[in-house]
């Protein structure tokens, strides 16, 4: 029996609507569970106190600081390197074998799973270079991990700057470097910042690469050679060991909220680009 195409059409229309809501529903469920179960345990004390009894009681301040330190320091190292590379590739050279090799490397690195970074960072930085589990090992590993993202997003942001701006700048007598810093970079800043924010988000959410390089010490890291935890690592250990479900949910909440805040910030910055150029 052949069903009328218009009815089939309606069925699919309804089906697709339902599906979209289901997908959003999954997100809502995940966020709700974390919020509902974690909310009552997140308070000022939780955020600013240190963990006691392996994290069964107390707060997560050292993990929060560990996360902030790891993310910021990684950005400090990766941004000049990545931005410089992007500027070099777009403004200072023509397409050649050399640039193709670099792009090949960047594309390849972008797909490497985080456990490989963990494996590399652990054996190379922690053991062979003798840095031990430390903030430094973590930072160096994460820098390499976010480098491709910074290079790619910076390149795209720079490429998106209209040619006219450059032409006008040169015609006014500016040198290449002046043009790059005063004109191109200024215009590309929102795009570059978005890439930076995305990378920060990645570092904050990363566990496999961090736990094997930065370690899992419960203390507040006060020097580069200290070990420490990030929120993601702390959450993983709490959850895996069954130390405290309450604290686990609370940590998850802070973690997810942080990443959400970073994403919202990135979004806000990106929108400023659109409004600036439309």
């Amino acid at each position: 029996m052949r069903i009328k195409p218009s009815i089939v059409d309606k069925i699919f229309r309804i089906g697709f609507n339902a599906l979209a809501f289901f997908t959003v529903g999954i997100l809502v469920v995940i966020i709700s569970i974390i919020c509902v179960k974690g909310f009552s345990h997140v308070n000022l004390e939780f955020i600013f106190a240190s963990p006691e009894d392996m994290g069964r009681h107390g707060g997560i301040f050292p993990s929060i600081m560990g996360t902030i330190l790891l993310a910021l320091l990684s950005i400090v190292f990766a941004t000049p390197l990545g931005l410089g590379t992007a500027i070099f590739l777009t403004e200072y050279t023509k397409e050649s074998v050399f640039t193709k090799i670099i792009r090949f490397g960047v594309e390849s690195l972008a797909g490497i799973p985080s456990i490989i970074y963990g494996l590399f960072g652990f054996i190379f930085f922690v053991i062979q270079l003798g840095m031990g589990w430390s903030l430094l090992s973590g930072v160096l590993t994460m820098t390499i991990m976010i480098l491709p993202t910074i290079i790619r997003t910076s390149e795209e942001a720079i490429k998106a700057v209209p040619r006219n701006l450059r032409i006008v700048s040169y015609s006014l007598g500016a040198t290449r470097w002046e043009t790059v810093t005063k004109v191109v970079l200024t215009a590309a800043t929102p795009g570059i910042l978005t890439g930076i924010m995305l990378s920060i988000g990645r570092v904050v959410g990363e566990t496999a690469a961090v736990i094997f390089t930065m370690g899992s010490s419960l203390r507040l890291p006060t020097s580069l050679m200290d070990s420490g935890r990030t929120m993601a690592v702390h959450f993983y250990i709490l959850a895996r060991e069954g130390i405290s479900m309450d604290k686990a949910y609370a940590t998850a909440l802070v973690l997810v909220l942080s990443i959400t805040a970073i994403n919202i910030l990135a979004y806000y910055i990106m929108n400023r680009v659109v409004s600036r150029y439309s």
Partner: protein
């Protein structure tokens, strides 16, 4: 430079100052405050952490840094001198004998099941059969018709090594058996799955899991002390050469009556 770039530079400046001052802090610290680093067995870690907490309460200028990584990692770190004390839950192998080992306590390995499991006792042969894959179903042990969800530790784990030496006796642990990478996670599986069975550090057994008697002997600290429950292994602190003053103070504390009482309260077997 425009506004945004200026702001970025200021941000970077702050980060730079912060990083430098972090480094400064370490060199400003008094000798007493350089951290004692301890790493190794994940079985020993929670107890060392507890001891460290107590020790630092009484001696606030001490900083003790405890990490996991596994018995083997602890041995390696000790050999490479990247830590002050290594923790191990298995005896040293021949090629590791350059290190000095100090037994801080003994720990039993308990065969645990879900509290709802009606079984109370198994023979060593049965346990062997379960982890070897020979016995697959609870009905073979007198319970319901349901597959046994056995959980083991990963290769390289001190706890697994001791379990293999003391129970498996050269028989291999079956490939189809689940693996978790810490005592805590094995305990979690057993606590939540009514049909699970695993082996964990005795010190971790609480009301969420139940330890089975082996060949009629219950897994209690008394039975380990008098030798009737034979499945036990030492918790070791490993030192490379002579420890410095701070490290020695901590070790003395752990071996003292105070330290041993703490360990005993946690379910371990003190060595006094």
């Amino acid at each position: 430079m425009n506004q945004m770039t200026e702001k970025l530079y200021i941000l970077f400046l702050f980060i730079g100052i912060f990083t430098v001052s972090c480094g400064r802090e370490t060199s400003d610290r008094k000798d007493n405050q350089s951290p004692i680093t301890i790493a190794g067995s994940t079985s020993v870690m929670p107890f060392t952490e507890k001891l460290a907490e107590y020790f630092m309460l009484d001696n606030p200028d001490y900083v003790i840094d405890v990490q996991g990584g596994g018995s083997t990692a602890g041995v390696q770190a000790c050999i490479n001198r990247t830590v002050d004390i290594g923790m191990s839950s298995r005896r040293l192998k021949d090629d590791e004998k350059s290190l000095r080992d100090i037994t801080i306590c003994n720990d039993g390995i308990a065969i645990v099941v879900h509290p709802g499991n009606p079984l109370n006792n198994l023979t060593i042969d049965q346990i062997r059969g379960i982890f070897n894959g020979r016995i697959k179903n609870w009905k073979e042990l007198g319970w319901i018709d349901r597959k046994i969800d056995a959980v083991s530790r990963e290769e390289g784990s001190g706890t697994r090594g001791s379990f293999e030496d003391l129970i498996m006796n050269k028989m291999e642990i079956d490939d189809g058996i689940m693996v978790q990478d810490s005592n805590g996670s094995v305990k979690e599986v057993v606590a939540t799955d009514p049909y699970a069975m695993g082996y964990i550090s005795l010190g971790l057994v609480d009301e969420r899991v139940r330890g089975l008697s082996v060949d009629g002997v219950a897994p209690t600290t008394e039975n380990i002390k008098d030798g009737s429950y034979k499945i036990e292994r030492p918790f070791l602190f490993l030192i490379n050469g002579t420890p410095d003053e701070n490290t020695q103070s901590f070790i003395d504390f752990v071996l003292s009556k105070e330290g041993q009482i703490i360990l005993k309260k946690e379910g371990l077997i003190d060595i006094l």
